[in-house]
């Protein structure tokens, strides 16, 4: 019973090393292996489908299910177009209604760098005595710069986490550049005979996708959790989205997409900020008027 002759069980070093290696490897390297293993189930699917004879109740059910799938896909596409029309109104970089919703506090930049190689922050000359609270948005005109740091807020000074800092994350929209109607679309509209009914609109709606933007300790940001059915491409613009607490106004310009990569069921976007915060000497802090009450 147990171990005999003083022999000991060998430590599973190889397993620990393998587990560590798998931990380090990026997920997209392991995805092809996973898909390859799942592909072994493919031959079984048509065999089950072929078992049902034609004109049988099972065959009719299968035909109805296939038609149902087609109709669902069409319905989804039409809903998506309808949503994107509504989202377009939200995500356009409209002029901020700052005087109505936010109090503006002007701040000067004291130190425009962070001495750490991992953090991205700047030091400003406004603090608690000026009504600053953690989490407030910091902008430069219509460009989002960052937010007031939650850990370094003094009476007269505070630190701003830039959008490239690992501690920064907000909801954001990525929006396609506006698409102008092509010459063929214009011509087809002109060729339609009169009295045929309501004209179809030829203004295509730009696509957009919602995701989470976060800093990545480099000069660029990442945007995650963007749905894969959105045809995101480089040069799409990124704007801020409203949050549940009403701190972040919508439509602040963040930057543009420089690269798009797959990350399991979502897109991962690399976003280049539109403005270099290290060249700024003054900033604006937006304080929601509801927070003043």
């Amino acid at each position: 019973m147990g171990i005999s002759n003083g022999a000991h069980k060998p430590f599973p070093l190889k397993f620990v090393v393998l587990a560590s290696v798998l931990l380090i490897l990026p997920a997209r390297w392991l995805a092809p292996i996973e898909l390859f293993i799942l592909s072994f189930t493919r031959p079984f699917v048509p065999a089950i489908a072929a078992a049902a004879p034609e004109d049988s109740p099972e065959a009719r059910i299968k035909a109805l299910e296939a038609e149902n799938l087609i109709l669902r896909a069409e319905n989804k596409e039409l809903r998506r177009k309808l949503l994107s029309i509504d989202k377009l109104a939200e995500t356009q970089p409209s002029a901020l209604r700052t005087q109505e919703s936010y109090e503006i506090i002007v701040a000067g930049v004291i130190i425009s760098e962070d001495s750490s190689a991992w953090r991205r922050s700047i030091f400003i000359n406004r603090g608690e005595k000026d009504g600053i609270t953690p989490g407030l948005v910091v902008v430069s005109g219509k460009y989002l710069i960052g937010k007031i740091s939650e850990s370094e807020l003094g009476a007269f000074t505070s630190r701003v986490d830039l959008i490239t800092d690992p501690h920064f994350h907000i909801k954001a929209w990525c929006v396609a550049p506006p698409v102008k109607p092509s010459a063929a679309d214009k011509k087809s509209l002109e060729d339609k005979p009169a009295g045929t009914g309501a004209r179809e609109t030829i203004e295509p709606v730009p696509d957009s996708g919602l995701g989470v933007l976060e800093g990545w300790s480099t000069d660029q940001c990442r945007m995650k959790w963007v749905a894969r059915d959105i045809p995101v491409k480089p040069d799409w613009q990124v704007f801020s989205a409203t949050d549940s607490e009403g701190i972040y106004p919508r439509g602040l310009i963040i930057g543009r997409v420089t690269s798009v990569t797959e990350e399991s069921c979502f897109w991962r976007l690399t976003v280049e900020p539109a403005i270099n915060p290290h060249s700024l000497t003054s900033l604006l802090i937006l304080k929601p008027r509801s927070a003043l009450k």
């Binding site: 760098e113 190689a117 991992w118 990545w216 300790s217």
Partner: protein, 163 residues
């Protein structure tokens, strides 16, 4: 040493942006940590390293005391390794500096991963390597200059003794 540290922090906050390569910045304060660990007695170097780390904590958006602790431990590692290896060799000193710098940056990045969960493990491994490499390149130049100055002082003393 602390006055030099303040000067370096000022440089790190102003001019280092121009030395940045693909978002990688060298850690100039860590070079001072290496110098104090190689040339000062152990107790003095521990205290100096801790103060240098605290100086860096105040000028960055990190938890106060975190970098100070890491610099102190890195200084201890350098002091421990200098007793084992031949510290007069420039290459050995540079390798020890690289190892200690990599460990320090890796631990800091790991802290960001554990407590904030933002960065990935592979990114921390790679970025730590490049920060340590860049820091060690500058440290190599500094150690070379220190060795040259030491050799000049030695020659002058020998010349005076021979007179």
């Amino acid at each position: 040493m602390l006055i030099i540290g303040m000067v370096l922090v000022t440089l790190q906050l102003t001019l280092l942006r121009f030395l940045e390569v693909v978002s990688i910045k060298p850690d100039l304060i860590f070079i001072l940590v290496g110098i104090s660990s190689f040339y000062l007695p152990l107790r003095q170097s521990i205290f100096t390293n801790w103060l240098l780390g605290l100086l860096k904590d105040f000028t960055s958006n990190s938890a106060p005391g975190s970098v100070a602790f890491l610099y102190m431990i890195s200084g201890l590692i350098i002091a421990f390794l200098r007793e084992i290896f031949f510290k007069e060799d420039l290459l050995v000193r540079v390798l020890i500096m690289f190892f200690a710098s990599y460990l320090c940056q890796f631990c800091y990045g790991l802290g960001l991963l554990i407590f904030e969960g933002r960065l990935s493990f592979s990114f921390i491994l790679i970025k730590s390597f490049f920060i340590a490499f860049y820091t060690t390149l500058i440290a190599l130049a500094v150690f070379y200059v220190i060795d040259y100055i030491e050799s000049l002082i030695m020659r002058k003393r020998l010349a005076e003794e021979l007179k």
